[in-house]
Each structure stands twice: as C-alpha cells, then as structure tokens.
Symmetry: C2
Subunit: 205 residues, 2 copies
C-alpha cells in the first residue's frame, strides 16, 4: 500500500511581517492541516488543555528531551522552555497529515537543522516590493533612506537563504493562496511520489 506521508511546512519570517495573521487565515480555509503543538514548562492556565494548547512538562523532563534530541527547536523565555516536540510531528506526518509550524526565524533555522525534509516558507514583508518601486522611481526618496532600506533588505535576503519558498505578504489572501499552492504542489513533487511508487513496486514484485 502506498503510504502518503504528511509534510512538515514551516512558515517563518521577520517579526512584524504578519505570520500569525496569515497562519490563522490559512487554518480557516484548510481543515486538513494540523497545527504543530508546542511543548512548554510553564504552568497550564485555566481553560488550556494538555495536547491541545501545549504539551506541559517539568523542567527536568524538558531538559531530558533536549538531551535526547527530541525537540526540533526550543528556546527559553522568562525562565520557561518552549519547543516543538519531534514525536508529535513525526507521528502526525506518519498518520498522513501535513503539519504546519509558524515560528520566528531563529526557531525555523533550528528546525531546518533537525528536520531538513521540512518545507520552509519565508514570509517576506511587502517593503522590499515597495523598495523595488522606490528604486525604480528614483529621486523621490533621499539617498540615505534608500540606503537604509537596502541594508534592511539585504539582511532579510540573507535570512531567506535557508528557505525553499518566499511569499510576499502584500495581501493576506494572496499570501494564503500562495501557501496553499505550495502545499498542493509539494505533494506533486516527483521525488516524493516516485519513491512511494517504487517502494510499492519493490514490495509487490
């Protein structure tokens, strides 16, 4: 039987680019995607559910999981750990569901290191698009401001290098549509599909 394994999609980008808005709109339109559930050492709050909002762990448990390389990424904020458990992601993919992880750039780079088979999407601020227009219609902007924007753009472009796709967040609906296209087309990638069919043939002949 052909196993249609899920794919891990990682959405990231500079802070303020609108990752959360795009992710929420995407999840409203796509009921097949599973959101990656984080693990944390912070206390469970009123109304939160284990395995839905977070997986709750003690500090000792979390540090053991770090040591066992069971986190695709983690970070510490205000004395608590937060991270992405490998086990939940792998089990969800194995069950045939795509997993979607929205995360800042530093975390995405950790995931890339620990789970390179993921598909990494960089949400790009529309400012470079604006910049494009600005540079074209030169003279209306002071040289200093153009240079400042070019420096910012250069930093963002350096960050892009680890990613598979770049989506400009000019309009939320347009960004969501592009991400949906990426999800659908990744499932059509020959190297994914051919491997499955070949495995099928080897198993059966």
């Amino acid at each position: 039987m052909i196993e249609e394994k899920g794919i891990l999609f990682v959405l990231s980008g500079p802070s303020g680019v609108g990752k959360g808005t795009v992710r929420r709109e995407l999840f409203e339109q796509d009921n097949e995607l599973k959101y990656s559930i984080s693990m944390t050492t912070r206390d469970r709050r009123e109304g939160e559910t284990e395995g839905v909002d977070y997986f709750y762990k003690s500090r000792e448990e979390f540090e053991q999981l770090i040591e066992d390389k069971q986190l695709l990424e983690y970070a510490q904020f205000v004395n608590n750990y937060y991270g992405t458990p490998r086990k939940y992601v792998e089990e969800t993919l194995a069950a045939g569901h795509d997993v979607f992880l929205e995360i800042e750039v530093q975390g995405a780079l950790q995931v890339k290191e620990n789970f390179p088979e993921g598909v990494f999407i960089f949400l790009f601020p529309p400012s470079l698009e604006e910049l494009k227009t600005r540079i074209v219609s030169r003279g209306t902007e002071s040289q200093d401001l153009v240079l400042k924007r070019l420096r910012e753009a250069r930093n963002e472009i350096e960050m892009m290098d680890a990613y598979d796709y770049v989506v400009v967040n000019d309009r939320v609906e347009s960004a969501v549509e592009k991400i949906q296209s990426i999800i659908q087309s990744e499932h059509c990638k020959r190297d994914r599909i051919a491997k499955q069919y070949k495995k099928l043939l080897e198993d059966e002949m």
Copy 2:
C-alpha cells in the same frame, strides 16, 4: 529593477493520458500563460496564420536551425519536421510570460536536455491509482493481471525520473488545479526570487 522572467512549463506523459484535454482546460482558466508555438516544414493550410498556429519554414531553413541548436526539440512525421523554436520560448520568457508546452515523452526529454531550467510535469494515468486500490484489496484480481499492470506501472515510473512533478489525471479539474498550484508555487521558489533580489542589491549598493 527586478526582472520577473517567465518560466517554461512542460506537460508530458504517456499517450492517451489526456494531455490535450488538461492543456485546453488549463488555458481556458489561465489567460496569462503563453502556449509554445511550434515550427514546421509542412505547408500552411487554409485558415492558419504564421506565428499563431505555427512558424512555417522550408526544409533547408529547418535543418539549419537544427544545426544551430535553435530547436528545443524536434521530430519528423510523414516527411515533415516539427519542433519547438528556442528563440520564441526565450523571447516570451524574457518578456515576463510563462510558456506552456504540451508534448509527448520523447520530445519532453529533448527539451529537458536543451533547456534544463524548465519545469517538467508528468501527467500520470489514473491506472496506477486504481492499481493501488487493487493491490490493497487483493484477491479480486487475477495474479497475472496484477503483474501485467505492475510491469506497465514500472515502465511509466521509469519515465517519470526526468520530471519535477507528477500529477495524476484522475479528474481533469483536479489535474488542472494541481498544475496551477505548481505554476504559482514555482514563482515563489526562493532560489528564483533570492537571485533577483540579490542582483537588485548588488546593482544598487
């Protein structure tokens, strides 16, 4: 200024798979795509227009173009040459339009050789999908028929290896939707976009 170059998309697959139907439906829905116009040595027929239906060439002109490597692929049928002129494709891409070429497998492999930066989509017959179901619900099919279908499937899978994407033509609308996703997501590929932005920065800083 950022040059948004077009992309050459090549749709191919075994004969009888429904390439023409899928291509026609795709063109009804997408007015941005330019169809690759073939070159031929056969006579122009009533109602046909140079540069719309075909580019018409003499045998000598065509053979000179072959020698000058000006054809992405060509073949002879009934004493006439047919081929895909490189110049038309490159000029259309340079003008920012995607070019779409629907062609049989042998021609697609020639294009791949001569224009590897194209995106190659293999339209897959739904039979392997059926096969999948058949193998799963074993016992309802004679062993011989299963083996025959597996051999066919194996041949088709070997052909797939030169392609970037595989789209199963189970329903025309679904195949067209997948091809549209591939077109959109290819335009979001980081290596395409980052190169353009980097060039912009190098030119301007």
